[in-house]
């Protein structure tokens, strides 16, 4: 049987790739994020964030990242940006705000950069 190796997840600096391994790491946390679509869940979450995280089985590192709103740590701990964004919405934060966080600028600066054509590739 001839061997065909998979091409593997790409390694692009500055680019988190949400691959199968990452998704396994983040499964419970992402499930928790997705649960925040209902008002009832958001209320329970806000009443005791750590307890809500424990209910979903988050790891200590994940729970700390969530409670501290350490968005980069959430990504590092297996968060998918589309799921992490559900938590941002709970806080009334926008994707531009997150873009600022990830690039070390303010939301206003990030928005201005986007209006100026975005961060150019290359």
């Amino acid at each position: 049987m001839s061997a065909v190796a998979p091409s593997g997840p790409p390694d692009v600096p500055g680019t988190p790739v949400f691959d199968g391994r990452t998704s396994r790491r983040g499964l419970r946390m992402n499930r928790m994020f997705m649960s925040l679509r209902t008002a009832a869940a958001r209320e329970r979450f806000s009443a005791d964030e750590a307890a809500y995280c424990a209910e979903f089985g988050l790891s200590p590192a994940q729970r700390e990242a969530v409670v501290a709103r350490d968005w980069q740590a959430m990504i590092d701990e297996g968060g998918s940006i589309f799921y992490v964004y559900k938590l941002a919405l709970v806080d009334g934060r926008s994707m531009q705000y997150l873009g600022g966080v990830f690039t070390g600028t303010s939301e206003a600066e990030f928005v201005a950069a986007m209006r100026a054509g975005g961060h150019r590739h290359g």
Partner: protein, 285 residues
């Protein structure tokens, strides 16, 4: 027999829907985008299909990460619009076409595409924003029933661009064999270049986008040969969703006629585009 009459490629950024829902399409931030939609919308209003296949991906609303299908198709008679967290978009629910869905499942599985069948599904902005781009004022109902075709673009390994294009070609053959005299539209959604997380967040690559916009019309095979890693590197970790345009394009004829296209930066964190193709262009002999 059914016939693909047009194909529409369009971004599905949630803020495009939000701008429409909140009456902000004339603001300085948004006018440039929506003005660019106008010619396509006019043409589309004159070319109403009987049914549309919308190729899209879900974003933590209709499906979760417990089950990640590479390709999935809805077979329902009705798709509720998802509440993504703070109330559902004020747009009509989506009427399905179970007959066409089931025909497509049989045809595509026969051809060796390993579809997952969703018997129920809530649809999110990935599907409803493209419908809004097409039909800004749907009233009580969208112009026609819709078959949702979902693609995993979120979790690596996504299908390759080549596999997406091949699926599109098989979709075209399947539509052509549907024994109903129906005009079918196909929408490929997502893109263009963007990246939401990481140090490259805010990435825009207008050169890649221009190349893609040109080639999606004239040389889709070239785009089908691009490896996933290159999409992620050049168009950003979320820009890879442009592979969904290739499914739309694959379902069309070799030669299509561009009705209108428009490129705009930014739609929130994203380069946005629309490209409308008439599938009734004369073909080479």
């Amino acid at each position: 027999m059914a016939e693909v009459v047009w194909g529409l490629a369009t971004s599905h950024v949630p803020s495009i829907g939000a701008a429409m829902d909140r009456g902000k399409t004339e603001t300085p931030d948004w006018r440039g985008l929506f003005d660019g939609y106008a010619p396509a919308r006019e043409w589309l209003a004159q070319h109403r299909p009987d049914v549309a296949v919308v190729v899209y991906n879900d974003h933590a609303n209709g499906i979760d990460l417990d089950v990640v299908p590479t390709f999935a198709i809805g077979t329902a008679e009705h798709y509720a619009v998802a509440d993504e967290g703070f109330g559902r978009r004020p747009v009509p629910d989506v009427v399905g076409d179970a007959d066409l869905s089931l025909h497509l499942v049989e045809s595509l599985v026969d051809e060796g595409f390993d579809l997952t069948v969703f018997q129920e599904l809530e649809v999110d902005h990935g599907l409803t924003v493209p419908l809004s781009v097409w039909t800004p004022d749907p009233g009580d109902a969208w112009p026609c029933p819709v078959v949702p075709l979902l693609v995993n673009v979120i979790q690596y390994p996504q299908p390759t661009a080549a596999r997406c294009y091949a699926l599109g070609q098989a979709l075209g053959r399947a539509i052509a064999s549907y024994p109903v005299d129906a005009k079918v539209a196909v929408l490929g959604t997502g893109g263009m270049s963007h990246q939401l997380a990481g140090a490259r967040a805010g990435l825009i690559n207008p050169e890649f986008d221009a190349m893609f916009l040109e080639a999606i019309e004239k040389d889709p095979e070239k785009l089908a040969r691009i490896p996933r890693a290159d999409y992620i590197r050049d168009a950003g970790s979320e820009g890879i969703e442009m592979i969904m345009w290739l499914i739309m394009r694959g379902a069309m004829n070799e030669r299509v006629e561009k009705v209108h296209s428009h490129y705009f930066v930014p739609a929130s964190n994203t380069a946005a585009a629309i490209a409308l193709f008439d599938n009734r262009a004369p073909q080479d002999a």
